[in-house]
């Protein structure tokens, strides 16, 4: 029978590894607790390797964080149209680029897709999404700079309904979860637009803060799933675990580069192999 002492070292070792791989400190602690709870008191057969048992339990613990019945593709297929999706997150994580990538995929899959420029704030945001629209040959709904972002996305939804579009992708300005006014604004966007999906975008290069900001966004507007960008940037990507843990939601896609085709389905098994080995 395993007692705490038998596995203490192994647990402390992997907690250290998780932190090294950018899993937030508190999340690594929590995973340590889970594994301990899972294993202490368990009967083991003689000659079974404790290290392997701990590893297996760790894998399962992480996989259970990612576990979710949500399937984006099926959702898009089955859900009544138009489907309205808004993208939220802190500054510069890759929201607009991700929208462009997803728009291309939807377009190529024959969904009529319209983009909405809900970032009426940042310099160059309008030109950025307009350019993507031109390159992808997709319509972009936009208002003047400084105008109400909720109204822009609302208009795009009306446009989609009137013209039998399938999908509305609503961009929003990057914002810090600590900015009360901007968080109120995103709540208003959600209220006015009533989106089908709220997708939280974060970047794989992020460290511990991923847990903090994803939790705050989730509390403010209840996100449905997350996308992790920039996993091509030579990272271990433990932020995926932090985000999924903090929001209790799946990661559905990862961004693997700056080109339109660099959006891939997130594969938890593959990811856990990368992190736990």
């Amino acid at each position: 029978i395993l007692d705490e002492k038998d596995i203490e070292d192994a647990i402390s070792d992997f907690k250290f590894d998780l932190i090294e791989n950018d899993v937030a400190f508190d999340v690594a602690e929590k995973i340590g607790e889970d594994v301990k709870e899972d294993l202490v008191g368990r009967e083991i057969k003689w000659r079974e390797d404790v290290g392997e048992i701990v590893n297996e339990s760790l894998r399962n613990s992480i996989l259970s964080i990612f576990e979710s019945p949500f399937q984006f593709k099926t959702y898009i297929e089955e859900k009544e149209k138009p489907i309205v999706i808004i993208f939220v997150g802190t500054n510069g994580v890759g929201k607009t680029t991700t929208i462009a990538k997803m728009a291309k995929w939807l377009r190529d899959t024959d969904y009529k897709t319209v983009l909405a420029n809900g970032d009426t704030f940042r310099a160059g945001a309008m030109e950025q999404i307009t350019k993507h629209g031109e390159k992808l040959n997709l319509k972009v709904i936009k208002h003047q700079e400084g105008s109400d972002p909720a109204a822009v996305i609302y208009d795009a939804v009306e446009f989609a309904k009137a013209n039998e579009y399938d999908i509305v992708l609503g961009d929003t300005a990057g914002r810090m979860h600590t900015d009360v006014n901007l968080m109120d604004q995103i709540k208003k966007i959600k209220r006015v637009v009533d989106p089908d999906l709220v997708l939280f975008v974060d970047e794989a290069v992020a460290g511990s803060d991923a847990v903090e900001r994803s939790r705050e966004f989730n509390e403010a507007i209840d996100i449905d799933a997350s996308i992790l960008t920039k996993i091509d940037a030579d990272v271990s990507g433990g932020a995926a675990i932090s985000v999924s843990y903090a929001t209790n939601n799946p990661i559905i896609f990862v961004g693997t580069g700056q080109n339109y085709d660099d959006l891939k389905k997130f594969d938890p098994e593959w990811f856990v192999d990368e992190i736990v080995g």
Binding site: D26, N91, G92, A123, G124, E127, G207, R213, K230, D234
Partner: protein, 294 residues
């Protein structure tokens, strides 16, 4: 000052400092307890694990070896040591020369280079220098418009070529165009260590600019990947200083310390908002407070 930083601490770190009483040497148990709390705080702030370990080892050694100076309590003594060692890894502020110079900004995608270019322009303009910015980002859609608009707000000179795909030639033209400008700031496209074409492009831009100062712009939330990135940028073009952005969120910027230590440079500026005024010269004291979780 020192007391100011460490005395304002909240929670368990404060408690472990408060626990240290008396006049004589500090007990090993107290130091261990304190170090554990410091480690927790710094790891949560994304400071490199080895750096944290080395720091607390030094704190322990000094706390046990050094006798408190006359009149100082054990607590004051350990606070001094902790602060001293933290400043050692954080670095003092750097003198920012107010003179003619060419500056180049580089860093990962979305780290805040373009915003920082405008902030720097505003900073030097306010010091009375004629300042201009060159847009060497020919990759990101809308990069030209973004920087041009920001320069309009700051009211500094701007050079860019909207349709160009050749960053090096844009920079050449820009330097010529702005040759009467005292401070020239070159904003580059975001890139990372594995994008070898972009790393080569950056080397060529650097050669063209012959920058007096190359700043690595780092997002306060960056994780452990910062080490490889900082080294790749430093190996390619040589980094002269670090600028931390987005310190207005909850991220603590501990990753910047890794960059500073890998490139043997200092933190020059910090950004704490999207607007061009939200930018300051680096101040170690407030940064240390933040790292420790205030």
């Amino acid at each position: 000052m020192i007391i100011l930083v460490l005395d304002n601490l909240g929670g368990s770190l404060k408690k472990s400092i408060r626990n240290i009483v008396g006049k004589g040497r500090i007990s090993e148990k107290d130091v261990k307890e304190l170090n554990k709390e410091i480690q927790r705080a710094l790891l949560k702030s994304d400071v490199d694990v080895r750096m944290v370990k080395a720091l607390t080892d030094r704190i322990k050694k000094r706390a046990l070896d050094e006798k408190p100076p006359k009149g100082a309590s054990a607590r004051e003594h350990i606070i001094n040591i902790v602060y001293d060692e933290l400043v050692n890894i954080v670095g003092k502020g750097t003198e920012i020369p107010v003179e003619e110079q060419d500056i180049m900004l580089v860093g990962l995608q979305g780290s805040g280079k373009t915003t920082t270019a405008a902030k720097l322009a505003y900073y030097f303009k306010n010091k009375g220098l004629k300042t201009g910015v060159i847009c060497a980002d020919t990759h990101r859609p809308g990069a030209y418009s973004q920087l041009k608009k920001l320069c309009g707000e700051v009211n500094c000179l701007f050079y860019g070529e909207q349709e160009s795909e050749d960053a090096v030639s844009v920079v050449k033209n820009g330097l010529k165009e702005l040759n009467k400008t005292e401070v020239r700031i070159v904003d580059t496209a975001g890139r990372h260590s594995l994008e070898s074409d972009l790393i080569t492009e950056m080397e060529e831009i650097e050669e063209t600019v012959g920058a007096d100062r190359t700043y690595l712009v780092i997002d306060a939330s960056i994780g452990k990947g910062v080490k490889k990135q900082a080294n790749a940028f430093n190996d390619a073009i040589g980094i002269d200083g670090v600028i931390i952005t987005k310190l207005d969120g909850t991220a603590k910027g501990g990753g910047a310390l890794t960059a500073v230590s890998e490139t043997d440079t200092k933190i020059a500026f910090i950004g704490s908002g999207e607007k061009y005024e939200e930018f300051e010269e680096f101040d170690p004291d407030s940064f240390i407070s933040r790292l420790l979780g205030m």
